[in-house]
Point group: C2
Chain length 206, copies 2
């Protein structure tokens, strides 16, 4: 799931960079985030292959949910693209870290390595903060946009967890069937999201 998420993040960020960046330096900066995601994908694909798993087969069950999320969260302008790069990859990262908590040590370390932020959030945070300072009216619209992205992420996550009990077990351990436990996990994800929103100068409550 993380492999397909990284491959898709790479392609979507590249698309946003090509279509929405106002300057070549901005295009290069978001391109940098995209290329980093590809590097993460490569690590995960190689790990799958080394386990004797075909990456395509392994990714296939998660294609619909991740594609649906991107279809629902297509940024309309450069600021939405920046907020998506920061908030979207942030909440996705928290989700995969939670999923890896119950995995074996070597997988947990791999996931942590792949999700290392490498300073890319700084790029988006600085630009969004500056844009809001220059035009405070942006703040409400971008806060709503971030809320919607998180809502769509939780909705896709819930759909997957309902359809795949094995994934639910992975997320919350032996209490996998306990929907309340899934609810608490989602609450933790929402809290972390609130911290990121504050960092970028947006109110999580919209």
């Amino acid at each position: 799931m993380l492999a397909y998420a990284e491959l898709t993040a790479f392609l979507k960020l590249a698309e946003d960079a090509a279509l929405l960046a106002p300057t070549l330096n901005d295009r290069a900066a978001l391109g940098d985030v995209a290329a980093t995601e590809y590097g993460h994908f490569r690590v995960l694909r190689d790990k799958l292959s080394s386990l004797g798993v075909d990456p395509e087969e392994a990714m296939d069950p998660f294609v619909d949910a991740i594609d649906a999320w991107h279809a629902q969260t297509r940024p309309k302008d450069w600021h939405e693209a920046l907020v998506k790069a920061y908030v979207g990859t942030g909440i996705a990262g928290d989700f995969y870290r939670e999923a890896a908590r119950h995995a074996e040590e070597s997988i947990r370390r791999l996931v942590d390595d792949v999700l290392t932020d490498e300073g890319r959030s700084e790029f988006a945070v600085e630009r969004v903060r500056a844009a809001i300072e220059a035009d405070p009216r942006l703040s409400g619209r971008l806060a709503l946009w971030a809320r919607r992205m998180v809502g769509e992420a939780l909705s896709q996550g819930q759909r997957l967890a309902a359809a795949r009990p094995d994934l639910a077990t992975m997320l919350v351990g032996e209490e996998g069937e306990d929907l309340a436990e899934i609810g608490r996990l989602f609450a933790r994800l929402t809290e972390e999201h609130g911290r990121r929103m504050a960092a970028v100068g947006l109110s999580a409550s919209g």
Copy 2:
């Protein structure tokens, strides 16, 4: 010029991978080529910055020609995308190598390093060959497609060389103003293209 070409190649290849790859493994393989181009861009951008040049300003004069080439060579299907990845990056590489021949040693080495193929042409060659074996009618269409890409590349190159005598001088040395010399350079590019076409199982004459 090479920096903008690499940045754009990265974004266009990512787009082709997202839109045209028939399987996830194919998408990942073309994504790999795209991410490699980004790595090349990063090297060139850092070199420009280290020379005290703003990358955006340095790339700006070449945006129109390179964008026009991509607008004229948008692949319609996966096989066209593969041929573009192989033939398009091939002829572009020859062009930049020629341009670097008259540059100082350190720049020449940098360009050679950036243009190292890293085995990515093998991926496209194998798949195109296999596709033509399976359906020999593909051969004529793809040969025409490759011809058109090269024609567009030479046409954009000629436009640039006419508009920028400094670039022409860089390409053919002191005889920069000699259009015949430019013609001979383009003949060399076309010969190299013929060799690539043969490698992929296509006839350069269409």
